[in-house]
Symmetry: C2
Subunit: 395 residues, 2 copies
Amino acid sequence: MMKKLYATRMSTIPKSFIREILKVTEDPNVISFAGGLPNPQFFPVKEIAATISEVLAGDDVSALQYSTTEGYGPLREYIAQRYRDKKGLDISADQILITNGSQQGLDLIGKVFIGKGDAVAIERPAYLGAIQAFSVYEPMFCPVPLLEDGIDIGSLKDVFGRYCIRLFHTVINFQNPSGISYSQNKREELAELLGRHDTVVVEDDPYGELRFVGAAPQSMRNWLDGRAVLLGSFSKTIAPGLRLGWICAGREIMDRLVVAKQASDLHSNSLCQRIVHRYLVNNDVDKHIATIIAAYKKQRDAMMTAIEANFPREVSFTRPEGGMFLWITLPERLSSLELFDRAIEEKVAFVPGTPFFVDRGGENNMRLNYSNSDEDRINEGIRRLGKIMKNLLAG
Amino acid sequence: MMKKLYATRMSTIPKSFIREILKVTEDPNVISFAGGLPNPQFFPVKEIAATISEVLAGDDVSALQYSTTEGYGPLREYIAQRYRDKKGLDISADQILITNGSQQGLDLIGKVFIGKGDAVAIERPAYLGAIQAFSVYEPMFCPVPLLEDGIDIGSLKDVFGRYCIRLFHTVINFQNPSGISYSQNKREELAELLGRHDTVVVEDDPYGELRFVGAAPQSMRNWLDGRAVLLGSFSKTIAPGLRLGWICAGREIMDRLVVAKQASDLHSNSLCQRIVHRYLVNNDVDKHIATIIAAYKKQRDAMMTAIEANFPREVSFTRPEGGMFLWITLPERLSSLELFDRAIEEKVAFVPGTPFFVDRGGENNMRLNYSNSDEDRINEGIRRLGKIMKNLLAG
C-alpha cells in the first residue's frame, strides 16, 4: 500500500537465503550442513546457570540498570588482556566496545564509515552478514577474489587503483563461506598495500580461536595499528544466544563507534555481559575451547574423508585449518541450485554459493557446515549428496 | 588523521548531553534529577534470578543458540495478548518484533523509512533518543510544538501542507522530556489528519503502563491500523539492563523491519527473552507495576509540592499523569544552562532543555526526573535549585 514510504536502502538489502533455508531444516529428519550454528553440546549451560547467583547477588543491581554504551568495564578489560596475552597486541580496555555479536559490529562500522555510493572492498565470496549489514548504507561493493592463501593482492591493487576504497572487510581466519585463511606472507603483502592507502581494514574474526592445526599468523593490527578494526565474538566459543561480541579499534574511530552504538540501542545487555564475564573468570576457557576444537576437527576430518569417498572426482574443496565451513567447487555443468533442490528431496541441506556473491557467481559452489553434525550424519549426508551429484552428472 | 574516511552522517548525530551529564552524576553526593533511570529498588532481582533454573533446565539449549530474528515466540504471544487484553487491539504475535529496547526500535524504523533529506515530523521538544536514532539516516526534521494536551494540530497541518512527511514520531503518554500526554480528543484529531496523508505514525510508548491518574486514552492503532507502528519496552516495568523492547507493526512493515533487524544484529538476546517471558508468566506483573506506580506518584507529588514551595512564582511546570519526568519553563531572563552550571556546584543535576530541540530552543527549559530519587533527596534538591534560581533572578 505504501511502497513509496520506504527508504530506498530497503530494496538493496539481500534477504538471507540462509535464514530461509533454516526454516526447511527445522525438520529434525533433514541432515543440515546449511546453518552456521555452533554445536550446542558444547554450550556451557551449567556454568552459565551458575553465574547468575554471583551476578545478581547482594545489593548491586547494576546488572539490571542502564549502563555505559561502551560496555561492562571488567569484560572489556578481559578482552583487552586476552589480546595482549594471546596475540601480543598492545590493546587497552578503552579500545574495546561491546556489541550484540559481530553482526552489530558490522552494522556500526557501516554507520560510521559507509556513505551512499562509497567503494567498499569485500572478499569474493564474501561473508553474507557483512553484505547485508553494509548494504543498508548503500555502498558500491568491489568484490576481490580469494585465493587459497587469502585475498588476491593483484586484484586488490587493481581495485585500489580504480576507486577510493573506504574500507576493506575480511574474515581473515577460516573464512565464512570459503574456509580459507590468510597466510602470514599474504598478511604482510596486504599490510604493505593498505599502508599506502587511507583505508580501514575490518578484520572480522569470529572463528580465529577455533584453529585445528598450525600457528596463528599475526593480526593486521600489528602493521596497521588504529587503521585495523578488529571484530570478535563469544558466539563460537561460549554461546551465540547471548549475542555478545566486540569491536576493537583505536581511540578516534572508537569515539565515533560509541556515538553510533548509543543511537542504535544505548548499550548491550548488562545482565549477559556480567554473565559472560563471570563465566570467563570462573572457568578454564582455553580448556573449553580445546574441547570444541578437538570435536570440530574430527567432524571436519570426517567430512573431508566422506567427500573424497563419495563426491565425483571433478569436485574440489577447501581444507580449512579451523572454523566451521568447507567450500565446494562443482564442475561447471553442475548447478548448486539444481543440486540444492534435489538434496532437499533427499533430506540434506546446504547453502548454494550464490548468496555470497554481490556480482554473479557461485552457481557452481556450495558451503558445507560441519560443526553442527555428528560423524554419522556427516557420512550419511555426504553419501546422499555424492549420489545426487553423480546422477546429475550422468543425466 | 582520517576525517575524510567517515560517513557524513557521523557529523549529524548529536552526542548525548544526557550521557555526558551522567558522568558528573556518578558522584553519589550529587542529587541527580538528570537521568531517565527507573528506580532500581523495584527491579525484581530475586524473581529474575529464579527464572534461570527454568530457562536453562533440561536438554533444551535453545536459550543459548542462534534463534529467529523475530524473537522468542511465547514472548511475542505474551505481548500480543497484553495488547488485546489491556487495549482491545486486534494484534497477533506475528505483528511483534523483539528489539533491544525501544531505542533499537527507533533505529530499525530509521533504517526502513528514512532516506537522506526525507521530512520527519517530531515533537518540540522531542525525545532525544529519537533525534539520535533518526539523525543517522539524515532526515530533515520538522519539529511541531507540543501543547498541554498533545501535539499542536494546527502546526502539524502546516507542516503536512509544506512537506511530504514520511513519518511522525510521538511519545504519546507522559512524554520524555515534557511529561505531557495526548488527550483522547487530540488523538482523534490526529487520526483524522493522518488518515488523509500517506504517513506512518510511530507511537513510542515506554511509559504508558506507568499511569498515576485517569484512564488511558486509545492507541493511534485504533484508527490507523497498520499505519500506526507501536514501540514498547520492558525497561520501565521490569529492568532496562535486559535491553528488551518490541515493535508492533502490520505485516507489510514488519517484513521490512525483520530484514533490517537481521542486518543489524541477527536477533535479540535469546537467554534474556526467555528470562523475561518466564518472569512474566511466573509473577503478577500488574501488581508489580502498581507498586512502581504508587512510588513514582508519591515522588512526583513530592517534587511538585517542593517546586511550589521553593521555585520562584514565574517558573511554570507540567503536571504529568504518569511516567518519570517534569518539564520546567523558566522566565526568559533565566538560562537553564547557567542554572545548570550553578546547580552542579551545589551538587544537583538536571538536563537543560536545549538537547531536546533540533532547532534553537530550550534555553529556558529543564527536565527533571523524579523516578530515581526518594522524597528527602527530592526536597533537598528542589530546595537548592529554588535558591539558585532566586539568586540568579535577583543578581
